[in-house]
Structure formats: C-alpha cells, structure tokens
C-alpha cells in the first residue's frame, strides 16, 4: 500500500480541522449536550488517540468526522472539504468496535464492499484486496465467511476493509475494544505496522491508556458532562516503536500521566 509518501511528516497543514463543534441529542423530550465547543486540529499523517470516560462524546466526535452525525454548531473540515464530500471520494476508512461484517459475504467480498459502494470496479482491485488480506494476516481465509472466523480475525477483516480504499483519513472507534488483552496487544502491533506503511492520518478512539500511548503521536483527553477536551498530551517516543516499549519505564511514567489526566479534576 502507501508507497507514494513517507509516513508521519511534521509541519504539514491541518488534515482535520474541528472548529467550535457542539452537538446536542434529543430523546424523549430531554436534551443532552454531548459535545460542547470542541476545537481540534490534526496534522496530515499523524496518529491521534482520543481517550476519556464512557459517554464523554469520543465516539460522537468520530461519527461527526465521518459525516454520520451533523454538528449543531461549528464546522468540521477534512482536507478543506466537508465530511460528506470527502467520504464520497472514498478517502475515508472506518473501523468500529464491532467488526460489522456482512455475514453472507466472504472475507474477500467484505473487504471489497467499500469499493462496491463507491461504484468502483472490484475486479481491478482483486490483487489489492488479496494483498490487504495478507497484510492483516488472514492469508488462506479469503473465501471464509465471517461466522467461520474468531473474534480477532473478524476484527482484522474490518481493519483490512477500512484500508481498502487507500484512505487518507482512518477513523478507528475502539476497534479492539471487544478483544482480550493479549490479542489486543498483538493487534496494536499489527496496526502500528500497517499505519507505518501508509500515509494515513489516523484518529483512534480508545479506552485503553497503553494502546493510546503506544500507537499515537498525541493523546487528546476528553471528559464528559458535557463532552469537552481537557488535555492534549504529546507522545515523545520515537518511531518506529518496538514491542519492547510496552515494558519501558518511561512508557509507564507516561501512562501514569495519562491516567492522572483522566482522573476527575486531575487534568491540571
């Protein structure tokens, strides 16, 4: 994949610009302010993690970027385009906590689904799809149905699907949330490898502090009631990051700092 550009360049223009965005949900006569004037800029090619307690609006923010929800206030620009026109070009990749595969399609046809929705010829991309299946370590399972795969394998299919359009913006909504710790860590390594090989800007929503610290260039800490950004912490570890980083003392110090930022009132 991404052989056009080197990854993670500094001083790029803002790839994703979120400007004073607010979102209120209305249900049964009550309204809940889910996001309150969020402003966030993400550079091209960087990897940003969003962490925060449940219900703080992380996923809502991600859905706004994907154009799955509309903001009540403020503006979101992805490469100077609205999310709707950006995604219509097929530049967006997305993976959810649930792999959300079509149960009647094989792995190969699931991975190819975004191309079909975009109205592109899937036949021409057959090699690409197979390469992606290989990349996520599912060689030999291209013709399997989702029901025949384990949870971790299904999640990897979803990752391959997110990458199939060669996206310049990758949105990941707790993609490993349902996996056990060991599988999750190997998926983290996998994701790091895949992202390193592409020129993609990535936004990852996660509950896991060490996942955020290991993968991201910067961690954005959010808090709920109403959802807002309370901290923005740069992750200084050089790339490429080796698996050994998980055991390094400075890694744990940083994780402790992130945990402290997540504590109520512990941000500053």
């Amino acid at each position: 994949m991404g052989d056009e550009q080197p990854a993670a360049q500094a001083h790029q223009p803002a790839d994703l610009s979120i400007e004073g965005v607010s979102k209120t949900f209305h249900a049964r006569g009550r309204s809940v302010l889910a996001l309150s004037s969020i402003t966030l800029k993400i550079e091209r090619g960087s990897f940003v993690a969003l962490i925060g307690p449940s219900g703080c609006g992380k996923s809502t923010l991600l859905r706004l970027v994907a154009g799955l929800e509309e903001p009540d206030d403020g503006a979101i620009l992805v490469r100077n385009e609205t999310p709707h026109s950006f995604r219509a070009r097929g530049e967006l990749g997305i993976a959810f906590q649930d792999p959300a595969l079509l149960p009647w399609r094989t792995v190969r046809r699931n991975v190819g689904l975004p191309l079909q929705v975009l109205g592109k010829k899937r036949q021409a991309d057959r090699e690409r799809i197979d390469a992606l299946i290989e990349l996520v370590g599912l060689t030999g399972y291209a013709d399997a149905l989702p029901g025949q795969l384990s949870g971790g394998m299904r999640q990897r299919v979803a990752i391959a699907r997110a990458l199939v359009t060669n996206p310049s913006m990758l949105l990941l909504d707790e993609p490993f949330g349902a996996l056990d710790q060991i599988l999750r860590r190997s998926m983290n390594l996998e994701l790091r490898r895949i992202w390193m090989g592409s020129a993609t800007t990535a936004l990852l929503v996660t509950h896991s502090i060490d996942e955020a610290a290991f993968l991201a260039d910067a961690v954005v800490v959010m808090n709920g009631g109403p959802g807002r950004i309370i901290d923005h912490i740069a992750i200084p570890f050089p790339r490429p990051r080796a698996p050994g980083l998980f055991a390094a003392p400075e890694f744990h110090t940083l994780c402790d700092r992130l945990a402290a930022a997540l504590e109520p009132g512990g941000a500053r």
């Binding site: 994907a66 799955l68 995604r87 959810f96 649930d98 959300a100 079509l102 689904l113 929705v117 029901g147």
Partner: protein, 513 residues
C-alpha cells in the same frame, strides 16, 4: 430430531387409539369414522379427490406466487419510502383484518374461472409476507448502515447491500406462514363461486350427506396440503439460512409494530391519515372504474354507502344487517375471549410442566397452520349445526395461534427474573404468579390483535356452512338471491368491524400500558 420422532410416535398412538375406539364403539364410529375407513375412501374415491385437490393446489400456487411477489415489492417500496407505507396503512390493515370469506362472493361477482380463488389466495398471503419482509429489512444491524454510509452510500446502497439480503430469513419465515394461508384463501374463494373442482367445492357438496369418513377425509386432505406448503418453506428456510430460525411467528406481526410515523409534523401526519383512511375506498373505486364492470353487480363505495343509508330498501337492508350482526358479533366476542383465556391458562400451566409444553407446542404449531375450514367437518360431526358449533369453531381458530404466541411470551421471561424467586425459596407456582404471568400478560394484547379478525372469520365460516344464521349466512343467501348490493354492503361492514376490533384492541393496549 428426537423431538420429531416423539411427535410422530404420539400421533401414531392417537391414531391407534382412535381406530380401536371406532371399531369397538359404534357411537364413536358414527361420529368420527375410523382412520382405516377414511383411508379406504381415499382409495375408492381417488377419482374425486385428485381433481379436487389439484384444483385447490393450482389456485393456491398461483395466488401464492402473485401475492408474495406483490408483497415483497410493496415491502421494498414501504422500506425505501416510509411515507408510502403510512399512506397504505389503511389498505394494509384492511388486508390484515378482512375476513377472506366475505371477499370470495365479491370476487366471484367480478371475475370468472379460477380467478376469484387465485386473487383471494393472493390477498390472504400479502400481509404476512409484506410484514415479515418489512420487519426483516428494518431490523438490521445499525453498524452495517454506518459502514455503507461512511463510503457515501445512500438509501439505495443500504437497500442493495444490506437490507435485501438481511431480510432473507424473515422473507422465508413469511412465506412459511403464507403457504398454508394460500390454501385457505383458495378454499374460501371456492365457496359461492360455483367452481367445479376444489376442496372447498368438494366440502360444500359433501356436507349434505354427512358421511363422517368423507368429511374428515376432506379435512385431512386440506390440512395435508397446507402443512406440506408450510413444511417445504420451513425446510428451504433451514437450508438457506443455515442456522435454524427460532420457531417464532414474527410473520404475523400486527400492522402497528411496523409503522414508524413519528418523524412527521402534525400537519403531515393529518394529511397522511386522511390518505391512509381514504386509500382503500379510492382503490376500490379505481379498480371498478378500470375494469368497467357494470355498477349493478359491482357498486362503488359511494353507491354502497347510499344503499345502506338511503337506497331503495335501505331500511330493510339495515334491519337485516343489524339482525345478522346481532347474531354474529356476540359469538365472535365469546370465541375471542374464550379462546385467548383458554390459551393463556394452558400456556401458563405448561410453564409448570415444561415437558408438557414441549409436547403441545409442535402440535399447536401444526394446527395453527391448518386451514380453518378443515375444522368444519369435525365441528359438524361433534356439535351438529347449533350455536355451540359456531362458538367452538371460533374458540378453536383463536386458541392455537394465541397459544403459540403466549408460549413465546412465557419463554421470553428472563431466566434471572425467574431464578430470583427460586433463590428466595419460592415454588414454581410462586414463580409463575409473581414473574411469568405478569411478564407474559403483555403478550395478551399482541395475541388479541392477531386473532380478533380470526374469531370473526371462524364464526362467519361456521354460519355460512353450518348454522345458517348471522352475517355469514346473510352473505351466502344474498349471493344466492343475486342481491349484489347486500353482498358488497355485507363485505364492507364486516371488514370495517374487523378493522374496528383491531383498532379497539390497540387503543386499549395504549391506555393500559
């Protein structure tokens, strides 16, 4: 598989017992013949059975094909354009609630050959398949929608990539319900149409002789055809879907569970309501207009209203209709309440004895798919032609679907809730009274909505074929007297009553909840 063998063994044991009773006791033989006698007349009268059977199967098959095609296309339209569904709500409820027996004579007036039977079979299968397809297409994983939308896919892409395929198990479940109904529709369409070959015509012609072996033979033949249709689609469903679909009757969801009109403004809703109520009448007018049938045999909605309100002989017509309703409605109400009450008691008792429930449920599922006219011979032989026969008929057609639905209600009680009672040393009876019964009570309304139109249909079939009283008889008699105005008026009034009963149960449900 072992359950199936058990069920077969049970049926075999019952047949043996029946044979023994019929052979030793002439009183039994005179009423319900004996299995061997019924089998013997199948052999000796094969030249009658085969063309009659083929006649019904042919009409049912064409109706099944056509009705389901329309149903699936309609469901796709309703799913894609929700306001169209709201506009068609009146038509849908009318098709759900209409007693098919009143449509038969109307169709026989307009169409000839086998068309009345085919159209009636199509009308009868439309609702269950449409509802099942629509529910199947709506009831989808919202994450799949997000995936499609993220790549810029709109409603059409969602329909194409997700909804249609997701709905396949539901569509097959709908077809499974529709198959026996198409047989019922074809048979009901034979009544009063004068068609030569068909199980309904066969039954009508044999009622006079009251030969138990012949009557029960026809009943069993009709049941066998209907069950075969059910079985074929149950098998296809299991094969295609892979996993066994739960034995639910999701296909019989009542109309309001699938309408979603809350996103419209008040004015829009009012407009849609007006369209929904008037559309059935507009369609009625339009069909007659297009087919250019003489208004004498096929009056339009205005003419029928005028006939009932002020036409020549309107007062007489009103008196006759009111008298017939006075006979029919109390019996239908009695059958409805009696059938549901019995179903609730039996379903709750079987919670105490799960083994008994396991034995009863497959039988109830089978009898539920039995065309209700197949009950006529048995009811006639056991209860003759008096009022009791009519009530028994109504109770029977209500009991089985209500029982299946209520047992599902009991089966869905969360295990934790029941175990809570047991953890504190409660007995099974306490568990039943404190948790299961209140929990399953909410299914009472769902069951009532589903079976209310059936109760009316059961009573009218019994009146037409057996008792010679009430609305069923009025329709049959008016048809014989070529009183077309009354045929149409009776049909419209019974559909309106059926819809009103359905809406009344819905209203009580909203008030109680």
């Amino acid at each position: 598989m072992r359950e199936h063998i058990k069920t077969v063994l049970w049926i075999f044991a019952v047949l043996l017992l029946w044979e023994a009773a019929a052979r030793t006791m002439p009183a039994v033989r005179d009423v319900v013949a004996s299995p061997s006698l019924i089998l013997a007349q199948y052999g000796s009268s094969a030249d009658l059975y085969i063309p009659h059977l083929l006649g019904t199967v042919r009409s049912a098959a064409f109706g099944f094909l056509f009705g389901n095609l329309v149903a699936v296309v309609a469901a796709i339209l309703f799913c894609r354009f929700p306001s169209v569904e709201v506009a068609f709500r009146g038509v849908n409820i009318a098709l759900f609630a209409m007693p098919p027996i009143v449509i038969g004579p109307v169709l026989a007036v307009i169409f000839s050959d086998n068309l009345p039977q085919i159209i009636l079979a199509a009308l009868v299968v439309y609702f269950p398949t449409m509802a099942a397809t629509l529910v199947g297409m709506r009831d989808i994983d919202p994450r799949l929608l997000d995936v499609i939308r993220t790549y810029g896919g709109g409603r059409n892409a969602i329909l194409r990539f997700v909804r249609l395929r997701s709905a396949l198990p539901a569509i097959l479940a709908g077809l499974r319900t529709a198959a026996p109904l198409s047989v019922l529709g074809a048979i009901l369409g034979e009544f009063g149409s004068g068609v030569r070959w068909g199980l309904g015509s066969f039954l009508l012609g044999s009622l006079g002789d009251a030969d138990p072996a012949r009557l029960l033979g026809i009943g069993f033949a009709a049941t066998a055809v209907a069950s075969a249709g059910y079985g074929v689609f149950a098998w296809i469903g299991r094969r295609t879907v892979g996993a066994t679909v739960a034995v639910t009757i999701a296909a019989d969801r009542s109309p309001d569970t699938i309408a979603g009109a809350d996103r419209y403004s008040l004015a829009q809703r009012a407009a849609l309501l007006i369209v929904a109520v008037s559309l059935p009448f507009v369609l009625w007018w339009l069909i007659l207009r297009v087919s250019q049938i003489s208004p004498i045999i096929a009056p339009g909605p205005m003419e029928t209203l005028r006939y009932l309100a002020a036409g020549p002989g309107g007062a007489e017509a009103r008196t006759a209709l009111l008298a017939a309703l006075g006979q029919t409605l109390p019996l239908a109400g009695l059958g409805l309440v009696g059938g549901i009450a019995a179903a609730f008691v039996v379903a709750s008792l079987t919670v105490l004895r799960p083994a008994a429930a396991k034995a009863i449920l497959p039988v109830a599922m089978l009898l539920q798919s039995m065309p209700l006219v197949a009950l006529v011979p048995l009811v006639l032989l056991l209860f003759d032609r008096d009022t009791a026969a009519t009530v028994v008929m109504a109770v029977l057609v209500v009991f089985f679907p209500a029982y299946v639905m209520l047992s599902q209600g009991f089966a869905l009680v969360p295990r934790e809730a029941r175990e809570l009672v047991r953890v504190y040393g409660g007995s099974r009876t306490q568990e039943l009274l404190l948790v299961s019964v209140p929990y399953a009570a909410s299914y009472l309304f769902a069951a009532a909505k589903l079976v209310a139109p059936r109760a009316l249909l059961g009573v009218m079939v019994a009146e037409w074929l057996l008792s010679g009283k009430g609305l069923g008889n009025l329709l049959n008699a008016s048809r014989g007297l070529l009183d077309y105005d009354m045929v149409w008026a009776g049909a419209v009034v019974s559909i309106l009553i059926s819809v009103a009963a359905y809406e009344a149960v819905s209203m009580i449900e909203t008030l109680v909840r």
